[in-house]
């Protein structure tokens, strides 16, 4: 047993940390954006991604043939944890979902067109799976793809396409075979985001930022831009999720929020007494620290399972996601409780404790137990796949 990273991994973690400290830039890295800080949505953040590319840190786990280094996924885990700890944009969708799917299933043409640009951080992607009737039930996508001469014509609507308002390319699931069973009728497409048939409408959230709905009107996609095999869309989506467990939900921002709260409690006073002497506050902080250690343990567990190879660590990653996102919300709630009446002051108010960081985070984390597979979906996975309980939905 060994809870530490190997010396090489440790060395890499230190190198990344040092580089991030040297390249610290508050315009790029803003922890108060909470979950949205992972997006490369401004020119400055895109320039930062280019710097990461120059360091050779994009696509490290890819095969050498496609410009990667064929090193273990744990390095991408280490990198993403460090990036998210600094509230920098992360190596999300391009290197992970899209790059890895293209490597396994894409045509030579698509590989040549997209992989080098992903490695150079030249393009940002938006991922369009969800629709009004396809949330947890992702296989229920209804976006219609009709076969026409030389390609496909797409009509319908996507919900929750987070990066649609700044991305260059759109990775979209659509129904090409309505007569087949619902899991076998979907295909994946790549569409330039500035296609005139796409209309992006902002969906403002109660967190820091906006997501979008996207309307498709006669969006023509040439045959070449159907990814992999027709009808294999859902299988590729699921496989990409499994490949992506390493970089999907980082613990660092949550652990860092706990750290920020603890630092505050150390020095805050109430009625001229140190807040840290309050037994109630001490109890809350003890639980946050303990639960954060458990979350870290669950993360270590899935990293180790993933390193062993073989089956994807679906169960471990579901347990990690379930526990950690719940903890994340609880830390925000607890922080407001610790702050007392002042906790009600809105983020940004000068008088608010920690400038209202936790009031903002209380709202911003609301979605964590829903997006990316809700808590209930994770519980279903654990109940069925780990415990072998019968399916009941």
């Amino acid at each position: 047993m060994d809870f530490d990273f190997s010396p090489e991994e440790q060395k890499f973690a230190e190198e990344v940390e040092q580089w991030l400290v040297e390249n610290h830039d508050p315009v790029v890295m803003d922890p108060t954006r909470e979950n949205f800080s992972q997006l490369a949505d401004t020119p400055e953040r895109r320039a930062f991604m280019k710097k990461l590319a120059k360091k050779g840190w994009l696509g490290m786990s890819w095969p050498k043939k496609y410009g990667g280094q064929e090193i273990e996924g744990v390095y991408e885990f280490i990198l993403n944890e460090a990036l998210s700890r600094h509230a920098a944009p992360q190596i999300g969708k391009g290197v992970g979902i899209i790059g890895k799917t293209l490597i396994r299933h894409g045509s030579e043409k698509l590989k040549q067109e997209f992989l080098p640009k992903i490695l150079d951080a030249e393009i940002e992607f938006a991922v369009g799976y969800s629709e009004p009737q396809a949330g947890s039930d992702a296989a229920n996508m209804q976006l219609k793809a009709e076969k026409v001469d030389g390609g496909w014509k797409l009509n319908g609507q996507k919900m929750w396409t987070t990066s649609a308002h700044f991305a260059d390319w759109y990775w979209v699931g659509a129904r090409t075979d309505p007569d087949k069973p619902k899991h076998d009728g979907l295909s994946l497409f790549l569409i330039p985001m500035d296609h005139p048939g796409l209309e992006v409408q902002s969906l403002p959230t109660i967190g820091k930022d906006t997501t979008n709905q996207v309307f498709f009107e006669d969006v023509f996609v040439p045959d070449d831009y159907l990814v992999g095999k027709r009808g294999q869309g859902f299988q590729m989506i699921s496989e990409a999720l499994d490949l992506e467990r390493f970089t999907m939900f980082t613990l660092s921002p949550i652990a860092d929020r706990s750290r920020v709260l603890i630092e505050w409690v150390r020095t805050a006073t109430r009625d001229d007494q140190p807040l840290r002497n309050d037994p109630n506050v001490r109890r809350i902080i003890a639980h946050i620290a303990t639960d954060t250690a458990v979350a870290k343990g669950l993360s270590t567990r899935f990293v180790c399972a993933a390193k062993e190879g073989g089956k994807p660590p679906t169960i471990q990653s579901s347990q990690y996601k379930l526990f950690t996102t719940t903890l994340s919300q609880r830390v925000c709630k607890d922080a407001l409780d610790v702050a007392g009446a002042a906790g009600q002051l809105r983020e940004g108010q000068e008088d608010a404790p920690l400038a209202g960081r936790f009031e903002g985070a209380y709202r911003a984390t609301m979605n964590e137990t829903v997006g990316g597979g809700s808590s209930e979906i994770q519980k279903n996975i654990i109940a069925r796949r780990k415990l072998g309980l019968p399916k009941n939905f």
């Binding site: 949330g135 947890s136 906790g343 002051l345 809105r346 609301m366 209930e376």
Partner: protein, 372 residues
């Protein structure tokens, strides 16, 4: 033993709900978010016309002198409707303080006006880095000739910009005193502060504000006790407000769970979600019966030193937990501004953090259970 409402009580509920459904719609609630004044004239006028502002004020001062039980029934409706009105600060807390400790002149000057909605009064109580207890009051009242000067800072003063008077808790040589202060008086500075529930609350800075001796409410040093007594009544009503908010949030969620289909089933057919809603419903009914018992005890003239804090503790915890679970059931849409459940989610947490928070209430209950 009988938990039913009387005919008059049921009429009061129906009348209040009917008015609020018309004048405190979700559009009205949204239009008041972050508004510096914080309440709409029409709604306030309607409250006055139904006599709701005078519900706790004696008939001799223009009110209808009903019990806390009737007021609790009204508060459940205000909670359902998320009604943006200065009723609690003015017609409950300020009216209670004047009734408890005010001079005849003070009562004559304000109670009738509060009862018919012509005047708004609001307590100025909490201070930066200070707690809810009596030692939290630090704003200094220095004896000065035939009056006092006030210096210090208050926060979470709701509806201060619309108020005719604040009732300021201040520390004098005698202890905690209450003073009637005009928000427009020289030396008073109001700063609107945004909050989680988007209500109209203010930071109020007092810089040597002159107060006449006749504007002290009650005897020197008696303000702290009067305020605590008023709070015990008040928190029962806030607990009722929490019950109403939680129930409406759950109702709308149950409706959604019947309509929204995933995996070819309505969401409510998943036991995982159905059980959340069953828990929520039980918590809400438990809260309501506790609130009613607290209010009934008060109406009977019995002690509420245990029931009142228990009611707010439990009802506010339930409201917060119910809104968390409801947001979870709505899924992604709960996170958008467009949907309403997020408003309940924000109100619930703020209500729990205000007017005695969870740790403070826990201590009150524990002290009542263990120390006497």
């Amino acid at each position: 033993m009988d938990l039913d409402l009387s005919e008059e009580q049921q009429m009061l509920v129906d009348m209040t709900r009917g008015m609020l459904e018309e004048h405190s719609t979700i559009d009205v609630v949204r239009s008041m978010e972050d508004d510096p004044r914080g309440y709409p004239d029409e709604l306030w006028k309607q409250m006055g016309e139904l006599g709701l502002n005078g519900i706790l004020i004696p008939e001799s001062h223009g009110g209808s002198g009903q019990t806390l039980l009737e007021a609790a029934l009204v508060y459940e409706e205000l909670g359902r409707a998320l009604a943006p009105v200065p009723h609690f600060v003015s017609a409950v807390m300020s009216a209670r303080l004047l009734m408890e400790a005010g001079s005849d002149d003070q009562k004559d000057a304000w109670l009738e006006k509060i009862a018919n909605g012509d005047a708004i009064l609001t307590p100025a109580w909490l201070e930066p880095d200070r707690g809810f207890g009596p030692v939290g009051v630090k704003l200094a009242a220095k004896a000065d000739g035939d009056g006092f000067t006030l210096t210090g800072t208050k926060r979470h003063v709701y509806f201060a910009s619309a108020a005719d008077r604040m009732i300021v808790l201040a520390r004098s040589d005698a202890g905690v005193d209450l003073f009637l202060v005009d928000p427009a008086a020289p030396g008073v500075t109001l700063t609107h502060q945004l909050s989680q529930a988007s209500d109209a609350q203010y930071r109020v800075d007092f810089d040597g504000v002159r107060v006449a001796a006749g504007d002290r409410i009650g005897a020197a040093g008696s303000g702290g006790a009067a305020f605590e007594k008023g709070m015990l009544d008040g928190i029962i009503l806030l607990a009722a407000q929490a019950v109403g908010g939680a129930e409406r949030a759950l109702e709308e969620t149950v409706q959604y769970a019947k309509e929204r289909v995933q995996f070819d089933k309505p969401l409510g057919a998943f036991q995982a979600l159905a059980h959340y809603m069953a828990d929520a419903s039980t918590g809400i009914d438990g809260s309501r019966v506790l609130v009613h018992e607290a209010a009934w005890n008060r109406a009977q003239g019995r002690s509420i030193s245990r029931f009142a804090p228990m009611a707010k503790l439990f009802a506010c915890e339930t409201y917060r937990e119910v809104t968390r679970v409801c947001a979870q059931i709505w899924g992604g849409v709960a996170f958008t501004r467009e949907y309403d459940i997020q408003i309940f989610f924000r109100h619930a947490k703020q209500l729990q953090l205000s007017w005695w928070d969870t740790p403070y209430l826990e201590e009150l209950v524990a002290a009542d259970v263990l120390d006497r």
